[in-house]
């Protein structure tokens, strides 16, 4: 029980339930299955990206460029399919391949040139995004192939949206990798302490390459989901939201210095942002207030965990001295 109380996820869950209750009392329509399913569907893109961001943060890195990667993957996959034809599988294949390659470039740059990840990925963000804009001429694709519409409307038994299932699938797959594979453990090791990880004998290059390629892969995957949600391709519709996704993951308790964080936390972080966005509108508060609320929640969250950490350190020091 005490352990539960110390977990960030616990507080988040309590906050989410409390908010949910508050919104439902104010507007009974909030807690309907229909609204919740809509929420899951419309935040599936955000949620899938958050899984990739979590993995990068766990490894002690950061990726700013994933929105540009998703943007490139989205544009290229739709444009190629419009040109040469294809189906949903082609879309996923093309988008994920592009994403993985661009992500791998990040990983190689970070590993071999030893530029801090935040700087590298700011550079590649500009590079990928700039090139996409030059090649596409900034033209919007209004007509996307029909199967995207079908994907957006598809549901599993129980009215659960397929796009939401993709999010769930990404979480489960990533959870398995993180928990049960050597690669997954090496990510935690690298995030905890790079030197220690090298001494223990982990191949840091392999881990780092995997982490950033995985982020790219996830961005490519999410790009297809985004196309299905938006039903058009606007070349500047994703770039600029990178910090929102990172904020959601950090809210979920991931340590920005690496080594700790959880998938459950990342999902709860996204859920909290989703509820604030949707709930405030449903209780009739202007959506202008969204950012104010989210900003306050982030500030309170990070402050609380910093204070908690300070107290822990102090307690440990007190225990050491006789």
């Amino acid at each position: 029980m005490r352990k539960l109380l110390q977990r960030n996820e616990f507080f988040l869950a309590v906050l989410i339930v409390a908010l949910g209750l508050g919104f439902t009392i104010a507007n009974p329509k909030f807690a309907t299955i229909g609204n919740l399913m809509d929420l899951i569907k419309s935040y599936s893109f955000f949620g899938i990206l958050s899984v990739g961001v979590l993995v990068v943060l766990l490894s002690g890195g950061i990726d700013i460029s994933f929105t540009a990667i998703a943007q490139v993957a989205e544009y290229a996959s739709v444009a190629l399919i419009l040109q040469f034809g294809g189906n949903l599988w082609t879309a996923f294949l093309v988008a994920c391949c592009i994403g993985t390659v661009l992500g791998a470039v990040n990983g190689l740059l970070i590993h071999f040139i030893r530029i801090p990840p935040i700087i590298t990925t700011i550079g590649t963000l500009n590079l990928y995004y700039g090139i996409l804009y030059v090649l596409s001429g900034g033209q919007i694709i209004y007509q996307v192939p029909e199967f995207y519409r079908a994907l957006a409307g598809a549901t599993l038994p129980g009215n659960f949206p397929v796009l939401g299932a993709f999010w769930l699938g990404a979480v489960i797959l990533t959870g398995w990798i993180l928990k049960y594979s050597v690669l997954g453990r090496s990510i935690f090791a690298l995030g905890g302490s790079e030197i220690a990880a090298i001494r223990v004998g982990f191949n840091i290059l392999k881990t780092r390459l995997f982490v950033y390629s995985f982020m790219g892969f996830v961005a490519g995957f999410a790009a297809v989901v985004h196309t299905a949600l938006v039903q058009s391709v606007i070349p500047n519709s994703i770039v600029g939201r990178e910090l929102d996704v990172i904020a959601a993951v950090v809210l979920g308790g991931a340590n920005i210095m690496g080594g700790s964080g959880s998938l459950l936390g990342a999902c709860l972080g996204v859920a909290l942002l989703a509820m604030l966005g949707n709930g405030l509108t449903m209780i009739g508060m202007s959506s202008y207030w969204n950012n104010v609320m989210i900003g306050l929640v982030i500030l309170v969250g990070v402050t609380a965990s910093a204070i908690q950490r300070n107290l822990q350190v102090r307690r440990r020091v007190a225990n050491l001295s006789p």
């Binding site: 550079g123 590079l127 700039g130 920005i256 900003g295 910093a306």
Partner: protein
């Protein structure tokens, strides 16, 4: 000579890149690049992003980042214009209203700096998380108080800040140079500057040396907010309006420019002169490509490529040394 070269390698590398860019632009479009018109437009465009980069650089010197810089700039501009609109009819004097507006605008932005600095310095929240929070909050406040719309009708009397010319030099450029000189002096000649560099290099060491880290950090974010506000006022005067999402794309570009100018992302190293060089280079590249009729986004791609290239070069030079 050798010592000089070694200690100024960073600046030297930048100068070379700068000259190469200049040369390429001159070769590609000699009749358009070095014209008074182009130089003038460059001199008007560069200061706002330049001052924002100074705001970013101050925070990077301690090993942090100020993601709220652009939001703070907009907050200052919006509050300034709104206060002027609200008080001008009451006070009867436009100048008095302008002074009041600027005062409130700067006060609001310093409040943001105070919050960030307090959380980073006294509570010990990491810089990127703190400013992620203040950024979202400030952007939210900007949207709420403007209702998301553009606030126009900036009074004539302060438009010269963005568009005027003094002694043949555009006023915004003059302000940028003043800010740069001021910051450079503070960093190299004051206890605060010395503490800041030391804190960025090793915060444990400064703590044991009896330096008040928290106070230094508070100063950092106040200074960063202050520069952001100046950039905000310049943007307001240049666009003749204020809006919650002006300059949002500048945010990451300022980090890029600061790093290009030799500021270390992990703190402890960085000089104002390097940042100024980097800004001039990025602006030359953007203006030059624009003159050539190339897609403006190509310049963005080039910025990214140059950043990676410079970092790679520095890495290999360091390995050989």
């Amino acid at each position: 000579m050798r010592r000089f070269l070694n200690s100024h390698r960073e600046l030297l590398a930048l100068t070379v890149v700068l000259l190469v860019v200049l040369l390429v632009m001159l070769l590609l479009s000699p009749e358009r690049f070095l014209t008074p018109n182009n130089l003038r437009s460059m001199a008007f465009q560069l200061p706002e992003i330049g001052i924002l980069t100074l705001a970013m650089m101050v925070a990077m010197l301690h090993g942090g980042i100020n993601l709220a810089a652009v939001g703070t700039a907009n907050l200052t501009a919006i509050i300034t214009v709104l206060v002027i609109h609200a008080t001008a009819p009451m006070l009867g004097s436009e100048w008095l209203a302008v002074a009041l507006g600027l005062g409130t605008g700067f006060a609001a932005s310093l409040l943001v700096g105070l919050l960030s600095g307090f959380l980073v310095g006294y509570v010990g929240v990491s810089s990127i998380l703190t400013t992620l929070g203040t950024m979202t909050l400030v952007n939210g406040v900007c949207i709420v108080i403007t209702g998301g719309s553009t606030i126009s009708r900036v009074p004539e009397s302060i438009l010269f800040i963005g568009n005027g010319v003094l002694l043949g030099i555009p006023v915004p450029l003059l302000i940028f140079l003043l800010c740069g000189a001021g910051l450079s002096l503070v960093l190299s000649r004051t206890v605060f500057g010395f503490n800041l560099y030391m804190l960025g290099t090793n915060s444990e060491a400064t703590r044991y040396a009896g330096i008040n880290n928290a106070r230094t950090l508070l100063g950092v974010y106040l200074a960063s907010s202050f520069f952001a506000s100046i950039a905000g006022i310049i943007m307001m005067a240049r666009f003749n309006s204020a809006k919650a999402d002006y300059g949002q794309s500048y945010l990451l570009v300022t980090v890029l420019a600061a790093v290009l100018g030799g500021t270390s992302a992990s703190g402890g190293y960085g000089k104002v002169i390097g940042v100024i060089f980097a800004i001039v280079m990025l602006q030359m590249l953007a203006s030059g490509l624009n003159l050539l009729g190339v897609d403006p986004f190509f310049a963005i791609a080039m910025w990214g490529a140059i950043l990676l290239l410079v970092m790679a070069l520095k890495h290999f030079l360091r390995q050989r040394a």
